[in-house]
Symmetry: C2
Subunit: 366 residues, 2 copies
């Protein structure tokens, strides 16, 4: 068996220690005589797995007691619909910040389901910097403000939480799509009304979505939403209105344990992530051959797109990289070029190897 | 490692050969240097896995070319909403057959989303027999007829497909929740407009839902449905509007390969399933201690509930069964008693061992 370095934007690399443990337990979970996949979601064994996963996630993110943690299906894309359904039962207009392809998809779904106000957009600067607080123009009836913490495709990240006072007085719920940055470092959950994240970057395998929602927002749903959309009903059922994605939940739990025990928590993880990203940005900026267009303040720690000075060398770059075990460096089909995703599970050694390869490629072909 | 016999109603036992192969490939899929969990859903490797799974499923069920096969999230419960959203865009009333707890949930969701007509119900016979064709009273504006092929909790199965002429003339789309009986034997897909099934019984792990839908039904959706609900959009995107549950899809593919190659197809599978179920029903009927209440014509091959003559012995029965490696025989919390689920992956030897245990228990304690 050879494990290569995997820079995929998602589904992404998982910690090798997690995969090894999953492999070890695959046919027989801790002597119970069956796989986790084969357990009733209501069995004491699986309930213990599920509860431990939630507690470990709460510990990692210091989730306050008045927030509920949900383990759902459908990906962030399903949340694009579930958020407006759950938060607009008392009227108002949902406000969105447009910073890239994922923000745009969230906006399109909100518009489809009733309307949305774009409170600020990065389009004027070609998606290379996020709006500053002063640029944000809320609608008078704003029901919440939604933003995308890290644009996976553009490699554009917020350097601050856009907390805003509500035009009607009081706090405005901040809703954050944190799919590609959650668990990359500490956050203050109390800044948010709703955090959601597809699992397939820093949490676990595809097919699981984590939602962290303040209890005060559980009673604001539209009466016409599908039953399985209701955060309140899901919270009351412990995310088990119906059968949850049990194996993905278990694997997420193993990732949380790895973060707590092997890595030492999110502050330690952030230090490693920053070191990895700083190295790669330095290599890009120090070269005449590679370019990253994002404003330094908003450069993503997780997804680093870059282009070659000569587009005609793209395929050679990818082929040669793959030949030395550096996988999935191709940029998203919508933007082209390259992208290295440096999620938690991508080891620093992978980044070092990538930089060595890039330097060598530039020397030979640049 | 010891593998026990697992009679869980779902998530259910998986074929040991499938688990062994998954274990073997977990960290390195066929020399690619990464896990299937870590692959982009748009990579050539994963696309090949996904396409082969669909083809194998099509082969097993002889799915005609004018049907689309979707691999989705959310379980059958999400389909309770997606079906009316997708089929009622041109008006009409959805018609349902009520045969038990799962049918009732589907009806409740359709009522919540706009209304439903119950065309026949098994309540009068206390959910022990399905309605006969003459009992089915469609509404004049019936848009489709929905039924539950096999009630997982009640152990009640249809012995026929309730194909009905539409009151408006032409064929009436038949929609079937086949979650707990799909792949247990051959079916004629052309009888149906929509077939859907949560994976966690006969297909794979929880978190995957298979939908088989006739192309003619793809254009009938309500304009107000969430974007991710649209069968048409999902079909056009090859079930990849967003990241699908890739690992569950892969495991389902391994189960399909097992059914084709190890078992020899669905006719062979049905022969085995019938032999397993016949044995257990014979043991129950031949005893004065165990009882199954279902009409012989409608007895499920997959889920066999039974009660003990003395309820006070339930816990002893379960404890002693577990001690000899017979797991998850407790009946659903809503009905009590026992239930043995004999899905495809439950080997005949498991049924033989269960019957021996039941006979011995009756002799000692009955």
């Amino acid at each position: 068996m050879t494990r290569h370095y995997n820079f995929c934007a998602g589904p992404a690399a998982l910690p090798e220690a997690v995969l090894e443990r999953a492999q070890d337990e695959l046919l027989d979970y801790q002597g119970r005589g069956l796989s986790v996949m084969e357990m009733s979601h209501r069995s004491p064994e699986f309930v213990a797995i599920a509860e431990r996963a939630e507690q470990d996630l709460r510990d990692l993110l210091s989730v306050p007691d008045d927030y509920r943690v949900l383990f759902l299906q459908g990906g962030a894309t399903m949340q694009f619909a579930m958020v407006p359904y759950n938060l607009l039962g008392q009227g108002g207009t949902p406000n969105y910040l447009h910073t890239g392809i994922w923000a745009k998809k969230a906006i399109a779904e909100a518009e489809h389901l009733g309307g949305a106000h774009i409170a600020a957009s990065s389009e004027a600067n070609r998606l290379t910097a996020v709006p500053r607080p002063d640029d944000i123009d809320l609608s008078d009836d704003a029901a919440y403000l939604h933003y995308t913490a890290n644009e996976t495709i553009g490699g554009l990240a917020f350097d601050y939480v856009p907390k805003m006072a509500s035009p009607q007085g009081g706090g405005l719920p901040i809703v954050c799509d944190m799919s590609s940055s959650i668990l990359s470092g500490p956050i203050d959950v109390s800044d948010y009304g709703v955090i959601y994240a597809g699992a397939q970057k820093n949490i676990g395998p595809a097919g699981l979505t984590v939602v962290i929602v303040h209890e005060d927002l559980l009673g604001r749903g539209r009466s016409d939403m599908p039953g399985l959309f209701s955060y309140r009903a899901l919270a009351e059922a412990g995310s088990m209105i119906n059968t949850p994605p049990t194996y993905a939940w278990y694997l997420a739990g193993l990732v949380f344990q790895w973060l707590k025990e092997d890595v030492g928590g999110l502050a330690a993880m952030e230090t490693i992530n920053r070191r990895k990203a700083d190295k790669l940005y330095a290599a890009i900026d120090g070269s005449d051959f590679y370019t990253n267009p994002i404003a330094p303040l908003n450069r993503s720690l997780m997804n680093i797109p870059f282009v070659l000075a000569d587009d005609g060398l793209n395929q050679s770059f990818l082929d040669e990289a793959e030949a030395v075990g550096l996988l999935n460096l191709k940029g998203h089909r919508s933007v082209g070029g390259m992208r290295a995703s440096l999620y938690n599970a991508v080891p620093e050694k992978a980044v070092d190897t990538l930089i060595d390869f890039m330097t060598d490629f530039e020397r030979r072909r640049g």
